[in-house]
Symmetry: C3
Amino acid sequence: MDGLCYGGDYNPEQWPEEVWHEDVALMREAGVTLVTVGVFSWASLEPSPGHFAFDRLDHVLDLLDAGGIKVNLATPTASPPPWFGLAHPDALPVTADGTRLAHGSRDTYCVCAPAYQEASVRVARALAERYRDHPALAMWHVHNEYGTWCHCDHVAAAFRDWLRARHGSLDALNDAWTTAFWSQAYADWDEIAPPRATQYLPNPSQALDFRRFLSDAMLGHYRAQRAVLRGLTPDVPVTTNFVFGSWVPVNNWEWAGEVDLVAIDHYPGDRERAAEQTAFAADLARAWAGGRPWLLMEQAAGIVYTGTRMLAKRPGQIALHSLQHIARGSRGAMFFQWRASRGGSELWHGGMVPHAGPDSRIFREIRDLGRLLPRLADVSGDVLADAAILWDPESWWAVEAPGLPSPEARYLDALHQAHRVLWRSGVTTDFAHPSGELSAYPVVLVPSLYLVSDATARNLARYVEGGGTLVVSFFSGVADEHARVRLGGHPGALRDLLGIRVDEFLPLDEPVPIRLHDDGGGGPRTVNGSIWSERVETRGATAQAWYRGGDLDGLPAITRHRHGAGQAFYVSTRLDDDAYAAVLACAGVPAAPVPVGVELVRRSGGRLFALNHTATEHEIAVTGTDLVTGAEAGGVLRLAPGGFAVVSTL
Amino acid sequence: MDGLCYGGDYNPEQWPEEVWHEDVALMREAGVTLVTVGVFSWASLEPSPGHFAFDRLDHVLDLLDAGGIKVNLATPTASPPPWFGLAHPDALPVTADGTRLAHGSRDTYCVCAPAYQEASVRVARALAERYRDHPALAMWHVHNEYGTWCHCDHVAAAFRDWLRARHGSLDALNDAWTTAFWSQAYADWDEIAPPRATQYLPNPSQALDFRRFLSDAMLGHYRAQRAVLRGLTPDVPVTTNFVFGSWVPVNNWEWAGEVDLVAIDHYPGDRERAAEQTAFAADLARAWAGGRPWLLMEQAAGIVYTGTRMLAKRPGQIALHSLQHIARGSRGAMFFQWRASRGGSELWHGGMVPHAGPDSRIFREIRDLGRLLPRLADVSGDVLADAAILWDPESWWAVEAPGLPSPEARYLDALHQAHRVLWRSGVTTDFAHPSGELSAYPVVLVPSLYLVSDATARNLARYVEGGGTLVVSFFSGVADEHARVRLGGHPGALRDLLGIRVDEFLPLDEPVPIRLHDDGGGGPRTVNGSIWSERVETRGATAQAWYRGGDLDGLPAITRHRHGAGQAFYVSTRLDDDAYAAVLACAGVPAAPVPVGVELVRRSGGRLFALNHTATEHEIAVTGTDLVTGAEAGGVLRLAPGGFAVVSTL
Amino acid sequence: MDGLCYGGDYNPEQWPEEVWHEDVALMREAGVTLVTVGVFSWASLEPSPGHFAFDRLDHVLDLLDAGGIKVNLATPTASPPPWFGLAHPDALPVTADGTRLAHGSRDTYCVCAPAYQEASVRVARALAERYRDHPALAMWHVHNEYGTWCHCDHVAAAFRDWLRARHGSLDALNDAWTTAFWSQAYADWDEIAPPRATQYLPNPSQALDFRRFLSDAMLGHYRAQRAVLRGLTPDVPVTTNFVFGSWVPVNNWEWAGEVDLVAIDHYPGDRERAAEQTAFAADLARAWAGGRPWLLMEQAAGIVYTGTRMLAKRPGQIALHSLQHIARGSRGAMFFQWRASRGGSELWHGGMVPHAGPDSRIFREIRDLGRLLPRLADVSGDVLADAAILWDPESWWAVEAPGLPSPEARYLDALHQAHRVLWRSGVTTDFAHPSGELSAYPVVLVPSLYLVSDATARNLARYVEGGGTLVVSFFSGVADEHARVRLGGHPGALRDLLGIRVDEFLPLDEPVPIRLHDDGGGGPRTVNGSIWSERVETRGATAQAWYRGGDLDGLPAITRHRHGAGQAFYVSTRLDDDAYAAVLACAGVPAAPVPVGVELVRRSGGRLFALNHTATEHEIAVTGTDLVTGAEAGGVLRLAPGGFAVVSTL
């Protein structure tokens, strides 16, 4: 599609036909260009097994087409109808403790159940055969937010097949999982099961492989539908919408190569941190897309429903957050859903047309944004990032396992802090794969990268040797790709690169003071380390900060190692944001000259997004034309509280 | 029975026969007139299926009769014996996640299981046949505290029958439940099940209908026993004891018409608020009884056992709380249980005769109360209430569903606050049904009435048009009787009556200031709103208070709409108690001239109950005879700390 | 074995053969004398049912023997291999709600399942037949940390048999369990089941008997293996390792007589209280051993893994805590495990050789301790205790049941406080059985002894009559051995002995002041009572302290009763540690003249252990030779911070 996509999930099956006409009229008023249709339509499209009813959908697509609105057509497989579970109880998902979940919500299926696999392909095929030539069809949206776990016997069988392919032999698997511990050695493939409810601590390597397997099992389900769709409509792009959360066993690095356009859903769950959470999500999406354009497929209009409560977006945030995504590479801004449902499980989830109808603050903001977006249609070019953060879902999963040293040492906390500190410093950030090419970045942050393969270790060493600056945080490099601890001293795979050796991890009950020698010219000062500490011995590195008091009194807390043409820092504790920023300053990360909460994103080709998340007016130094207002900025641009501009600096 | 009932649950099966004689002697000493026998006697009455053993009960009833003590004879169906579950495992209850509960406590049955239904009627019939002519028999007490959930297949089948009767067609059900959301449309009745454990958020309309169904299913179980009892003893009143709690799916409005005497159990769970909780419970009971006499069937003697801990009643509270109930229409004061059990699940639940025996503070207070009550035997006449509060269990249930806007916006909190503020102001309050006749009340409070049918909306409008004052709190009028949101702006069904329109609910993370223009003459002042706010637009109403700061700065927080001969207030946030009282004062609710904690309840026929819940002495202005002491009050009555009087003012 | 045992669990199956040689060399360097082999080796020893593979273990034992290291050979039954659960799903454990747990951790078995019983004996026999004559074999270690619950049908059948033996008749059982409450009377043995998930509160007497049964069922499993081992190796001592926790249904008083050497595992879970927790555990172990030597079989080296987090031992604590155990009678100091595992469920549990390898603080401390211990080889003689505390696991279990008066009135809290206050006063303490001989102790503390049989009551009376001083804390003497409350006033069985009668328990929401008349000469002062209070009436006793304010104003809080030649105190509330110490001073417990945190333990035969747990240097008055350093102490011994000495005072 040309221009930016604007619209949302459209579920006409929730409304009588007379509303459809009003819908199209309101969509046109709001500048909607694309709607996602059919995500939860299975029961209406296939009311009984194998009997399809397309009349109403025909009518809807024709109406949309007549209104000039394109369709992102979804396969409805995320929400099997009631008849499905009744006919195939073995295809309902089973929890770790053996409870077979019932129909009554959404996502009640097992991706490994043959009946579900067959039904999924059947409905996808019927849909594609029906609409392959419809003029409104612009994109395929397979399924919805993959992430449903199952522990049933279908899953067990598939898991065994997957393990056989991954490990090759039982000996290799036993070695990788360290099954010699607690007498878990497998003598036959049939002895292996998913990690189900058991007496005490489970095996962390098994848990990690099970997440990897689930990612692949879901990917198999996606690919089966994609094959059908590509066969019938080779020119229509196919995607699915990624959701991000600790319960989602999807490796987005691997999935991103399987979609024609990376698409994400994003619902910031903390009102005070919504702006930084939005930047975080958008930067991740761009990383998955390999820097190419991607699409914000769902966000909330007005109300973010968190599962337990409604968070209302503040006035202006619908546009401001949408612009954050577009600044970071999204080819538009889409919402769930067009009209708030009057009933059902998510009746308090917002809509572009809320319960109150179009005469509402929400719809007026939606309409205003829709009128603005065409002015930004030609924004393109790469996002210009100043730093990178390594992101590794497998390290995340491994650190989520029970039995780890400290429940406070969470991967996501470390990842969020790294991104947040850069964001608040005005630094635009990429996320990068640990084994990816890093040489373009002056500095790379490595928050709690628990799993480091030999190949990753080599990649990081190469990067530093070539002149890069690496800032590694505590609890990195500890284990290999099977979640086995590397012996001989931490941080295992990164010891030589960092020029240190750690013989003990010492999680902290309470903060300890650290004397920080601030290279940035600030002189020595005392900061706090919390939740974690380590007994660090320098072996080539020089100490930059020291523990004060406690069992580590006088020992190094932060080190720096010159290696090849570059340098590698190690931070052995959790710093607060300011101290972490000071360390990054030492490492050469330049803070942008803007106040915290004013966000600048530059695109190659001379586009600057300037977004003011604060409650006060700010000025920024820039020359060019504001595409939003058409005004010329001659050196200084004023940003109202909550205001934004997109400046063409050419 | 004449006079006031005084006594409690008597479980002679817990004690050897020699204790029975002491029991009757102590009962006589304590003035006991009525005991509830047999609630948990099934195993002793029917030790094996179909074989009854009545000898011991014969003896007990004869002893009681000889002592002049009447019997409230219970069918024992709330506690099936061990043999029942062993013989009929399909009649044991099943949780939402499919766990079939085992015998080992009480209430291990499913009211929809045929085997349980048959066994219940059989034991009720045997009991009635045995004791139909016993002179001690004064009342039938069916079952105990109905409230046990089940999700088994018997329940599923019965639920489907109930739904068919309620909705008529699958189309109507699909529409009522908004099953178009998330592909839940049912194409066959057999696809419908109770809300069992599922993958994510359940359907709130299904959950609401399931509670309604459970209420009716239990009522069916009650009616089956009642039919047997009425057939054999047409002149003996039949009742059951209502318990109140969020886990109890009983619609007391509907059940009250099925009992010959409304009876409640009440165990205040908060020592500091026991007095207001007691008034609340008693006012509800009177409402269910339609203003007629009712009976406090169970309260705690000495110890309230909350399920996790013992709360001891303070000295004097046994009488004081009993008097609260009697003041509000109870025809007596009954306890669970006569003797504290020395073992079993509730061994730390109190007794009128505690573990320590009759030489105890508890028994002495029990005895003193028993000696007092005959002096109040002729208290009758209606409770004279100054205000009403609407109570609607279905709104409560609907707001308990997952997926609602705010976990803080709880129905019971709103209901309790309304009652508490009136109670602390010295106002005696009725609870009223939303569609009931309201014209007798100068003011009616409507706390968070989420579900409002068209008929209820018309009833409320009629009330205001006729001159009434309505005070509606936030989150009212939102949905129809199927829990579907009313579109076009909140508070849906009450927009015109209130003269406002709300296009957004904005739950609050922290309190916001509100400028309140106090019509009561107090001048403007600032109070706080918490947990909830709304974007209110006046459409005929006038603002009485305004939000300050935040996203709603300057918009109305409280409004007043003159409508017909009356007026309707809307309060769009949660006020603290004092601010709420100020709004009620504006609405014309007169505060009584008594300190907080001194409670006055007037009965028609010239009886005034005066109860001092405070720790200091108070005087009240009254002339008449104190029935408690026989003393004459000539204009002023002194109430000692914790003291009380019942004044005949004729 | 001669000398002190030093070593730990050795799991060579976790490592390749080349590491074994390094292991033996490092063990020799560290002075290791004994290793526990095979605890989790079932899968490697019996890789498929009935097929044994001993080659690698042969090699390991030979290597150890060649290195002069003895072996504590374990039967591996605590961790059945994967094939076991696959072949015998009925032998996997079942939770109270019916979930059958899967293989995937350890301890996935049911001790009542015939298949498990057979497989356990088979593997034990094969092991004993193989190694009966191996020169390294020094001890048998059956199973590991017995404590796995199961609620399956095998358990139900065994429970019924056990109940039949214990109670003799259904009438007796119904009486003991008070099944008359809630209609639970059993008419047939087959109606009885374990306490499974049920509708509401379970029967506490059933729950107590189930714990007793589980203890005996596990003991049966132990005895079956012991019979095989004793048959084949009559001269090799047999033991198992006790673990202590509320989830462990093992009555150590009864088990201790079944092992040839009491052995315990101890992992202090609170860094700040590790020293007092260690003393507590060691004193318990000595009590179980009847004062004879026992063995610390497992402690953590460096890292205590609590199940959710790592706690690192502070520098010096490996030795300091080991010395605490040895001071209290342990014949050595053993660890879990020799080498930290690089993977598996407990990869973050510490090891004597940590992940970092021998070049580490941990291993250096291990080596230093190993070099020290031979100097203490001849320490023997009885621990000289000044006081005793009654310990009763059945009271503990009974108080853990749901339905008790206060969740704060926990048995372990009371027990820990009694021990802690003595420990901080420098008093060495024994634990004693309630029916054991107490006359040797000047004072005996009785914390919350809920269950008191008639025999125990007589024993305590005899002790006081003979001149002893008893200090009984609240919530004691309440129930009989079936957990039935004793009627007529608390503390039931101890009323006469204490000269008091209590008619009410009044758990406290917040502390109440108590005026304490300090016999120790300190004059009256005010302290606080918390969580609990009682309405105490003296009947022979004299009050020592009185409640102030509240409902008990002016009534006795602490009493003293002269009885026979002795005296009995009663403390009706929880005091803080200082006030409790003051009461103990009144009772004649002499505080030792050492600062808090300096621990002295005297052994008969002239050995004094002096351990400084503080961060400052202290001096103690002693004359003799320090066996640790060889230095002579001429009247004064200096203890460095964290330092210790073992002085021969002969």
